[in-house]
C-alpha cells in the first residue's frame, strides 16, 4: 500500500491483493514443477509421521529437493509449536 493511501485511510485495492496472492501461488507451483512425482506423497506421509508426535499445521512442514552436480539433497523444514 502506498504511504499516501495509508494516510488517506483508503482500503487496499483488491487487484493488488490479487497480485500478491498470485506471486506466492505461482512461486510455489514453479518450485514444484521439476520435482519427482513422489514428492507430494512423501510430504503427506512425513506430515503424518510428525503428527504422531507433535500437533502441527499442514503448512508447518515443507520439503524441497535441490540438485547438485553429483547428488540431490532433500531438505525438510518443520516449524514446531512453542512449548
Amino acid at each position: 500500500m502506498k504511504l499516501l493511501d495509508f494516510f488517506r485511510g483508503e482500503r487496499k485495492k483488491s487487484a493488488s491483493v490479487a497480485k500478491e496472492r498470485l506471486q506466492i501461488i505461482v512461486a510455489h507451483q514453479r518450485s514444484q514443477r521439476d520435482q519427482p512425482d513422489y514428492m507430494p506423497m512423501l510430504e503427506r506421509e512425513l506430515l503424518e509421521v510428525i503428527r504422531r508426535y507433535v500437533k502441527v499445521d499442514r503448512d508447518a512442514v515443507s520439503i524441497s529437493l535441490d540438485k547438485d552436480d553429483d547428488c540431490s539433497i532433500l531438505e525438510l523444514n518443520v516449524t514446531l509449536p512453542k512449548g
Binding site: 487487484a15 490479487a18 497480485k19 498470485l22 505461482v26 507451483q29
Partner: protein, 272 residues
C-alpha cells in the same frame, strides 16, 4: 509442414473457443491455409462459433476410429477461402481420442495446411494434454482473475513437461500469453489485475489483449467469428493478435480507457 498451435488455458469459460475461431479465421483472411480442430469431445461448440453446426456430418472421433475419412469430416468455411473446421463429437466421451489417432490426423493435415489450431478443452487432464501434446506453439488464454492466472501457470508447467517437444528434448513449445475479457475501467479503479501484473507473474510474451466486448456475444449469436467485425474493439484486437503471430510488430490498443468519440457522446450510443 503446418505449424501446430494449441489454444489452451486450464480454466473453462475464459475465451479459448472464441479465440481459436477468431485467430483461425484471421489467419485464413491473411491467406494462410488454416484448419481449426475442436478437441472438446462431448462438449463441442467450435462449430457454433464458426456457424457451421448444421453442416457437421462426421467428426474427429469418427476419423480416429476409422468410421470416416478426413476429407469427409473437414468442413469448408462458407465465408473464407483456405479455412476448414474439424468438429468434435457430441456423443462420445473424451477417451475416444487416442494419441496415435491424433498424431495420424495431425500428420495428414500437416501436408495440406499452413496452420493447425487446436481448441483445447478445459482442465489439465487427458483431453487438454492431448490437445497440447503435438503443439509447436501455445496460446495461453488468460482472464485478469486469480484462478485463471493460476491455471495458466499450471498449463505452462504441462507445456514444459508433457508435450512431444519436451519429451524428445527438442526446442520447447513457444508460449504466447493472450489476455482476454480485459476491462480497462475496472483496472483503472484498482479492481482488476493489470496487463503488466499478469505478464510479470506468468513471465511469457504477450501476443494480444482482447477487451471485454459486447461484440463477442453478438458474434457468437450469429455464428460469425468476431474477427469479421472490424468495427468492433474485440475484432480489431484479434486481427492485431493474428498480425503478431505472423511476426509483425503491432502496438497494443484497447488497454486504456477509450475516450468516447464525438458522435457517440452526442447520441449517447454505447461503444461497439
Amino acid at each position: 509442414m503446418a505449424k501446430i498451435i494449441v489454444v489452451t488455458s486450464g480454466k473453462g469459460g475464459v475465451g479459448k473457443t472464441t479465440s481459436a475461431a477468431a485467430i483461425a479465421t484471421g489467419l485464413a483472411l491473411r491467406g494462410k491455409k488454416t484448419v481449426v480442430i475442436d478437441f472438446d469431445v462431448g462438449l463441442r461448440n467450435l462449430d457454433l462459433i464458426m456457424g457451421c453446426e448444421r453442416r457437421v456430418v462426421y467428426d474427429l472421433v469418427n476419423v480416429i476410429q476409422g468410421e470416416a475419412g478426413l476429407a469427409q469430416a473437414l468442413i469448408r468455411d462458407k465465408r473464407v477461402d483456405n479455412l476448414h473446421i474439424l468438429p468434435a463429437s457430441q456423443t462420445r466421451d473424451k477417451d475416444a481420442l487416442t494419441p496415435e489417432g491424433v498424431e495420424k490426423v495431425l500428420e495428414t493435415l500437416s501436408g495440406d495446411f499452413d496452420y493447425i489450431l487446436c481448441d483445447s478443452p478445459a482442465g489439465i487432464e487427458r483431453g487438454a494434454q492431448l490437445a497440447m501434446y503435438f503443439a509447436d506453439e501455445a496460446i495461453v488464454v488468460t482472464n485478469p482473475e486469480v484462478s485463471s492466472v493460476r491455471d495458466s501457470d499450471r498449463i505452462l508447467g504441462l507445456l514444459a513437461a508433457k508435450t512431444r517437444r519436451a519429451e524428445r528434448g527438442e526446442d520447447p513449445v513457444k508460449e504466447h500469453l493472450l489476455i482476454t475479457r480485459y476491462n480497462p475501467e475496472r483496472v483503472d479503479y484498482g479492481d482488476m489485475l493489470t496487463l503488466e501484473d499478469i505478464r510479470e507473474i506468468l513471465a511469457i510474451d504477450l501476443i494480444g489483449l482482447i477487451p471485454e466486448s459486447e461484440a463477442v456475444l453478438r458474434a457468437s449469436n450469429q455464428g460469425i467469428p468476431v474477427v469479421h467485425d472490424q468495427k468492433s474493439d474485440a475484432g480489431l484486437a484479434y486481427a492485431d493478435t493474428v498480425s503478431r503471430l505472423l511476426g509483425e510488430e503491432v502496438p497494443l490498443r484497447f488497454h486504456e480507457i477509450q475516450k468516447k468519440g464525438l458522435l457517440s457522446r452526442m447520441f449517447g450510443g454505447g461503444r461497439r
